[in-house]
């Protein structure tokens, strides 16, 4: 019974996985490259974050982010995903893609960014 529930759980999560190789807004260095779509949706790589967007994010999204990260970790564990040395995967570091941020995303807001900075507002991005 427990085995069936576990298999069903893995199947359900597997349907919701995204391949990080296809996500040009971020970079990573790992053989393991699947996380849940729900987790990816909560990570604003490539976005220019105004004060409002930034504080909305850190005030309201961090708990959910932890929860979705736990789901991804659970999937890795239950499905037996391992690293190059055979040990279980328990973490994955993601970084912003510099090409996308500085040559695609930010340039489309240069004037607004400059204006906001000169007005004393902060402009952030997830790195």
């Amino acid at each position: 019974m427990a085995q069936t529930i576990c298999e069903e759980f893995i199947r359900e999560l597997a349907l919701n996985l995204v391949n990080l190789r296809n996500q040009i807004q971020l970079t990573y260095w790992s053989e393991q490259h699947f996380i849940t779509q729900e987790l990816l949706d909560l990570i604003p790589f490539g976005e220019i974050l105004s004060d409002i967007r930034f504080y909305s994010y850190v005030d309201y999204s961090l708990d959910e982010l932890v929860s979705k990260a736990n789901s991804t970790l659970l999937y890795w564990r239950l499905s037996g995903v391992t690293q190059y040395d055979g040990t279980s995967v328990d973490q994955l570091s993601l970084f912003h893609n510099e090409t996308f941020l500085w040559h695609y995303s930010a340039p489309s807001y240069w004037e607004e960014i400059r204006s906001q900075l000169q007005s004393g507002h902060r402009v952030r991005f997830l790195s």
Partner: protein
């Protein structure tokens, strides 16, 4: 999670160039049988900060320019609130805390329309003397550099 901030630097032509600095970092640490949020804040002047990094000057899209453009279109379709900073909180209604989640820890005010929810106690770290007061006529929940006020 680590955030960086975009900054301006004046160059020899008296023009500006974009640079970036470190900013806020958020971590969850498991201690005393619970997850505890840890926040680190690094703050630098918005213009000509003493320590900064330069953005890359040469793009490296690895032949995936079409994918980059497609994702840029997605990002551009997101609500762009960069230009609506000033008086933004005067123009929108605050969201009642009980619609946002079960772990509300901040109760700066008593009315349901003026409660704010946050997963941490961050807003208590930098209250402004007047607007952070619960006795204020216009209660505010203050973050590091802005306050969310119910006006």
């Amino acid at each position: 999670m680590e955030f960086n901030e975009i900054r301006l630097q004046t160059n020899f032509n008296d023009n500006f160039q974009f640079i970036y600095t470190d900013s806020n970092t958020y971590q969850y640490k498991f201690a005393n049988l619970r997850w505890q949020p840890i926040r680190t804040i690094l703050s630098f002047p918005l213009i000509n900060p003493p320590t900064f990094s330069l953005p890359i000057t040469v793009p490296n899209a690895l032949g995936r320019e079409t994918e980059y453009q497609a994702y840029l279109a997605q990002v551009q379709n997101l609500p762009n609130n960069i230009h609506i900073q000033d008086h933004y909180w005067d123009s929108v209604d605050s969201t009642p805390a009980n619609t946002l989640g079960p772990t509300r820890v901040n109760t700066l005010s008593t009315g349901s329309d003026t409660d704010y929810w946050t997963p941490t106690n961050f807003q208590f770290t930098s209250p402004t003397p007047e607007s952070g007061s619960t006795n204020s006529a216009h209660p505010c929940a203050c973050g590091t550099d802005i306050c969310y006020c119910d006006t």
